[in-house]
Structure formats: C-alpha cells, structure tokens
C-alpha cells in the first residue's frame, strides 16, 4: 500500500471528522445540557450552506459571506430555541422528536420554495481552487486543507470557550446539573438560548465549509445528522471532548473503510465478491462501531461527569 495514498486518505478522513465534530458538538451540547433531542440540527447545517452560497453569489467573496452567515445561522438557531424548543422542554423525548422532525419538513419545503429544487453552487476564489503539493506526487486540494484548518480552529475556539471562560463554566455546570445551576440564580433560559445559537452556528459553519464541495442541497442535513447522532452516542452524550474524539474516529473509519476495505477483502475472497460486499460493509462500519459501544459501554467512551 503506498504511503502517499494513505496520507491523503487520512487527511480526507480528518476533514470529514472535523465537519462531523462541528455538527455533533452542537447536537451534544443541546442534548446534554438542554436534554432536548433536536433532529432539525441538520436543517441548520443546510441553512448555513444556503445562506453562505447566496451571500457568496451576492458579494463575490466566500470568506465575507461565511463571516456574515455565521451570526445569521446563530440567530435562526436562537429563534428555533425560543419558538419551537422552549415550549417543549417539559415534554418527553418523543414530543421533541415529532416536533423537530416536523421542523425538518417545514425547513426543507421552505428552502425548496425560496431557492428552488436545484440547490446552489458556491463559487470559490482562485486561491482556494487549486491544489497544494505536500511532497512528491502527494497533492491535496487547497480547499480541503482550509476545511481542516477552519475545523481545527473552531474546535480550539470551542475548547477555550468551554474550559476557560465564565460562559463555558456555566455550560459545563449546566451539563452536569441543570437544576443546581438555575438554583444558583443563573438565567437558565438565556443560557439555553445561547447554547442553541452556538450549536446552530457550529452546524452552519460545517454546512458553509462543505457547500463549495458538494453544493448546497435540500435535505443535505438529513444524511449528516444520522452520522452526528452516531458520533455523540459513541463519544458520550453531553461531552465535547467525547464528540471530538468520536467524530475524528468515525470520520477516519468511514473514509479508510471506503478506501481500503475492498483491497483487504480481496485477500480472502474473490475480487467480484469483494467488489460487491465492500461498499455495503463500509457503509455499515460506523453503525457496527456504535452497536459495539452501546453493548459494552452504553454511556459512551467519554461521558461527562454527572453528580
């Protein structure tokens, strides 16, 4: 197996993992702190992509569009919290699932009405369109490196926010013991709104980063939300650290599985059988991992400390 391919595939896995982390971190915060199941988190990812695509076409600058889209997506997240999530906190999880599933349909249809069914392509500036030569013939697209850079920066920022600021302290406290935080006189509704908006902005950022690659599409969030749920289950619900490690793990396993599984299978079965079974097995890999985690460590790999 040649090293250059392995390095490139590892970078591809890292890129997928970081995007997953951006989506999963918001999901795990909302689920862990607010105890709210938000299926529509993927819709915020999609809206981020559509906002960014529209603004890129308006302003002609991807970076400017990205910076403006972030607060817009956060605002949408806040509005979702205020008008959809807040009335439902006292209800059980089934009601959350029903309401947010309905919200997915509403947002998908609204997107269809506003932007049409064809989706939006995002033009990139020339300096992001090219490729970077790492060494020899190991070449990666510049934009994918930018995704990795932006993903790592966002992850670093989130760790700093959660571990070294007063707001982060409250978020961590909220994840551990919600009742105690509100008993100490913290405006818990404000905190919840902020957490929701933060999660929305992170998911939106992931959508904005992927849009120049896959285009902004209706329903693009519904695929990633399932993987994001796998990530938070594997990582431990409510744990940012768990989400980070699990996202990278899932991203790498998925990418490397798609790349090398058929080669591995040919070692012990016929090429035709390997060719047919590898795509099916590689699509299953992450769920097999989730099933193992649920069976042997149902609280996840890095559950938050709860008292």
């Amino acid at each position: 197996m040649d090293t250059s391919l392995l390095v490139i595939q590892t970078l591809n896995g890292l890129q997928l993992g970081l995007l997953l982390f951006l989506v999963a971190s918001g999901l795990t915060l909302v689920f862990g702190i607010l105890d709210f199941v938000n299926l529509a988190h993927g819709s915020l990812y999609m809206l981020g992509a559509f906002f960014c695509a529209t603004l890129t076409i308006w302003f002609g600058s991807f970076i400017l569009a990205l910076l403006i889209s972030l607060p817009i997506t956060a605002l949408v997240g806040y509005l979702v919290e205020r008008f959809v999530a807040r009335p439902l906190y006292s209800r059980d999880h089934l009601d959350h699932v029903l309401a947010t599933f309905g919200l997915i349909l509403v947002i998908d249809t609204l997107t269809h009405m506003i932007w049409g069914p064809e989706g939006l392509a995002v033009p990139l500036p020339d300096w992001l369109r090219g490729q970077v030569t790492l060494w020899g013939d190991t070449v990666v697209p510049t934009f994918r490196l930018m995704i990795i850079g932006a993903g790592l920066a966002a992850a670093g920022g989130l760790f700093w926010l959660v571990n070294h600021t007063r707001l982060g302290m409250l978020i961590r406290a909220g994840a551990s013991n919600r009742t105690m935080v509100s008993a100490l006189g913290i405006d818990i509704e404000m905190l919840f709104g902020l957490v929701f908006a933060l999660g929305a902005a992170l998911a939106g950022l992931a959508g904005m980063l992927i849009a120049p690659i896959t285009e902004a599409n209706i329903g693009m969030g519904n695929g990633i939300i399932i993987t994001a749920f796998v990530v938070i289950i594997v990582g431990g619900i409510g744990s940012i650290k768990g989400a980070f490690i699990a996202a990278l793990l899932i991203g790498l396993i998925d990418t490397l599985g798609r790349s090398f599984l058929d080669d591995i299978f040919t070692l012990f079965m016929s090429p035709t059988a390997a060719e047919n079974s590898a795509p099916a097995i590689s699509a299953m890999l992450i769920y097999i991992i989730m099933a193992c985690v649920l069976a042997f460590r149902p609280q996840g790999l890095f559950p938050p400390k709860v008292r």
Partner: protein
Amino acid sequence: MRKVTTLALAASLLSTAAFAEPVKIGFVTTLTTGAAVIGQDMTNAVDLAMEHLGGKAGDTELEVIYADDGFAPETGKQATDKLVKQDDVDFVAGYIWSHVLLASRKSVLDADKILISANAGPSQMAGKLCDKNFFSTSWQNDQTPMAMGDVLNTQGVKSLYLMAPNYAAGKDMTAGVERTFKGEIAGKDLTKWGADAQLDFSAELAKAKASGADGLFVFYPGAAGGAFIKQYQQAGLKDTLPLYSVFTVDAISLPKLQQAGFTDVLGSKVTQQWDPSLDNEANKKFVTDFKAKYGHYPSYYGAQSYDAIMLIASAVEKLGGDLSDKDALRAALKEADFDSVRGKFKFGTNNMPVEDFFLREVVEDEDGVWTTKVVETVYTDHVDTYAADCKMN
C-alpha cells in the same frame, strides 16, 4: 404531493362535448429532495407537451397526475399504488430511478395498466422481466455507457477507473462500459446513493488517482453530477486523469457549473441518445418553446418525458379515446406513430427503443450559455444487449 394539470380541466370546462371520461396519466418522478431538480425538468416537459397538445389527444381529454417518489423505492411504490388503485389511471409514466421503477413495476403491470419509463432502463426489465405492457421512451441503462466504451477504444484509452452510485442503474452503467471497453479496468467504486447519498468523493478520487488509470469513467446523475465535477476540478485531475462521463454533465448540472465558473467542463465529451441541437422539427419546437417558457435548456430527462406524453397521445388518438381493447392499445403504442424529438422512433422486440447514440461535446452557445452539441454518431439503430433474454408473453 399531488398536482393536477389545470390545462386539461380548463379545456374540459370549455369543451361542449365533455361527456367522455378523460384519459388519465399518472406521472411518477422525484419532486422532493435534491433530486427534485430532475423531476422539475420532467414535469416542465410534460406540462409543455400538454400545452402543445392543447390538453387533448384527438378529441379525448388528457389529464396528468404527478406523484413524488421521494428518491426512494418504497415511496415510489406507494405513489404508484395510489395512482393505480385510487386515481385509477390508464397509464403510469415517468420514473427517473431504476430501483424505484423495479420496485413499482408489479403494481402497474398486475393491474393490467400501461407502464412507460421516461428515463430508468434497468437491465432486468429489458430482458427477463420484460412485459407486453411495459414501454420505454428512454434507453436501456447499459447502452449509453457502451457507446462511451467504444469512444474510449477509438481514443486509445488503455486503462479506466470506474465510479458510480451503488444502485441498480449504477451497476448497469459500469457493466455497460465494461462490456465494450477493451482496455484494463484499474478499479471500481460504488458509492452510497439515495436521499442521503454520499456527495463527498475525496476518498474515491484519491484512489482513482493512485490507481494510475488513463481515464476516469463516472455516472452521477442530478445534483451529484455538479458536485462530482467540482471536486474533480478541485483535485486538479484534468491533465493526469481525463474524465469520461455519462448522465453527469448535462442541462441539469451545466447551469450551476457555469455559475460557479468551472470552465474545465467546456469541451468535455459525453454520450447520449438525444441532444438539444438535433435537427428535426419536433425537437426545434420542443427546445425553443421550453427555453422560452422556462428560461433554460431542457435536459434529456425532459426530452424523454415529452416523448412519453406524445407517445401516449398518439395511441389514444388512434383508438379514438377507447382504451378498453388492451391488445389494440398495445399495438397502437408499439407503432410509435408520433414525431419524436429524436427525429425517428421505433420499438424493439422488448419494447425498448431502437435508436442512435451520439457523442456530444460541451460548448458555449451564441448567447454564452453552456450546452452540448453533437460531435458524431457512435451507434445507429442500436439494440440493447438484454433484448435477447426477453420472452414477451
């Protein structure tokens, strides 16, 4: 999601002789998810066909009922069941996706209704599962990639890497190119498909590049096509791994590629049975009116849907609106006595079209819009491979 074409209704209100029941056509396509962009092209073409017909076939009213398959076989089957049982349609047409058509075929055929594919051409239904009530106005899946395989042979491509979605048509497409391509297959990837299809092809592109193949053959219809082309260009593979595609670079993906400035796609070559530049009266009328009404070029999906409605109308008109004699109806359909946008149209023994395949090139038209034009004819009156397996009962 259901929409009744108001044209037929309006016409029936105005008509004095509106005693006869209208002939109902159920049209199943994708109206939701990202693939709705294809469905929209098809429904636009159907609406245009109905407009050209004046909502009538001869003296008989036509009514079109749209149904959404949600890009999923189970939803498509439900939509088909509803059309057959609840709306009691006479024809069920449409179907973009081979897996949806395969799941839905029994619902239509068991009820002794006529099934007309306006796109999907799964190998099974051209061969062993062929049926006297099933007709196609498109092609069998393998044919277009087979034409591409022959083009690759003449261009001297020695080895090829294949990429396609993992579903019925993806498998047919790779089988088609493998049948005619004489060089070596350096590798093959089948990627996840459906409403949550895989759209990031980084891992597969890296593998294709590492395989050292001379060329890359892909089949990515609809929104996935545009996404694929972008990543192909971002990966900088144009010089090392030239792209040969079917159903990927088309009137669906080109407007977005042009908008995003992906100039590398100009000059790329694809095979197809139809092109907006085909020189015949029916096609000129179709393309001109489509562009006037919707502001962009129609795709082959639209052209095939337009032909499907015209085929139905020709048979209904021939029978004077009386569809009770199924044998007469099948015979009238089989005659295919209508002006196809392909210029000529005839059915083979398995009710699949016997038709020409062209090599098309992506060019800029006189208005600066990216479209395709015919370079050469690859196959003349091509019969699909599976026709031999069809034992029509």
